[in-house]
Symmetry: C2
């Protein structure tokens, strides 16, 4: 048990799934579980610490890493790259940390191809009405934007079968969701594909 | 969530794994989880209730059920049959109960063939030395019997890769083991192969 490797947990969920709250709750309440630190080419802001808030690397280095397959998934925003660095994730896993990656469906499937032992969890609202209510209750978007987000959310939810697990986030149940994801992590550590070494102790 | 089907959990473990204690702890501390009630052809003893302690059926009925594939696995003892009745297990699962079946490796593999959604858990001692100490500490068996049981236990433990999960039972940790098996059950309920219906709520 002591020197077991960590597990990479990918958590996806459409707008309205409450993903951010659940992931924060999961990471805050379990010391062995950490959020993946992204790599970025943007400059550090005052107070940001390299390796804590982001891994700050320059553009040439980032593109080099992409070319070498060392970026698990990435996106661009305002002419800067943001992505998940393979090396840092692998190092954290080797230290025994369980690492949570909060990414969208496309990225999740890319990561799963590169790291077959990753565990994928889709967070969902309990039903379509709740989803719509949550998207509308933000109150900041136009009707058109809400309709677009709703359609996008339905597209993402149609991909549930591609995920290993789906977790329903009812209103006010972020803590229970985080605990269910924690149970999933505990269970995955006990899967025989990860625990074969135990046999050596008996033969 | 409310009308979800139960899961059949098969728990195996050699002598010295502490299986009995762990299973009792699991069933006693979670109302939704029940031990499977065996069928038998032996006569009820005073105080035994049909359907609670055993399903009491006669020999012709038992053999009929075996012939019809309605007994998941069985054994004989003192000229009586003891086995797991398929119908009763299926009814309990349909009512949403998670059912625990405490059986040996051969039986476990037979059940898994008939009920593909069953979840298999092998309980193990932490290492060979602890296994041997536990077998000897009973103090009632001859050295030859202990050696035989040890060899048999090692044979069973070599089959860990055939199981979905393996759970290590350290000394004095029966409660923690039961909770880990409970986490496995919670996680299995969230597996997308069991939760596909959630999609219908969004499309």
């Amino acid at each position: 048990m002591s020197k077991r490797k960590g597990i990479l947990i990918i958590v996806s969920g459409p707008a309205g799934s409450g993903k951010g709250t659940v992931v924060k709750e999961l990471v805050d309440s379990h010391t062995g579980i950490e959020l993946s630190v992204s790599a970025t080419t943007r400059a550090p802001r005052p107070g940001e610490v390299n390796g804590v808030h982001y891994h700050f690397i320059d553009k040439a280095e980032f593109e080099n890493r992409i070319a070498n397959g060392e970026i698990l998934e990435y996106t661009t925003y305002c002419e800067n790259y943001y992505g998940t660095p393979l090396k840092e994730v692998k190092q954290a896993l080797a230290r025994g940390k369980d690492i949570v990656l909060e990414i969208e469906v496309d990225g999740a499937m890319q990561v799963k191809k590169k790291m077959r032992n990753a565990v994928t969890v889709m967070l969902t609202p309990p039903d379509g009405e709740t989803l719509e209510r949550r998207l509308r209750s933000r109150g900041t978007e136009t009707d058109e934007v809400v309709r677009w987000r709703l359609a996008r959310a339905r597209e993402e939810l149609a991909l549930i079968p591609k995920y290993d697990y789906s977790v329903v986030n009812e209103d006010g149940r972020a803590k229970e969701c985080a605990e269910l994801i924690y149970s999933i992590i505990l269970a995955e550590h006990a899967r025989t594909k990860r625990t074969k070494k135990i046999i050596k102790k008996f033969i």
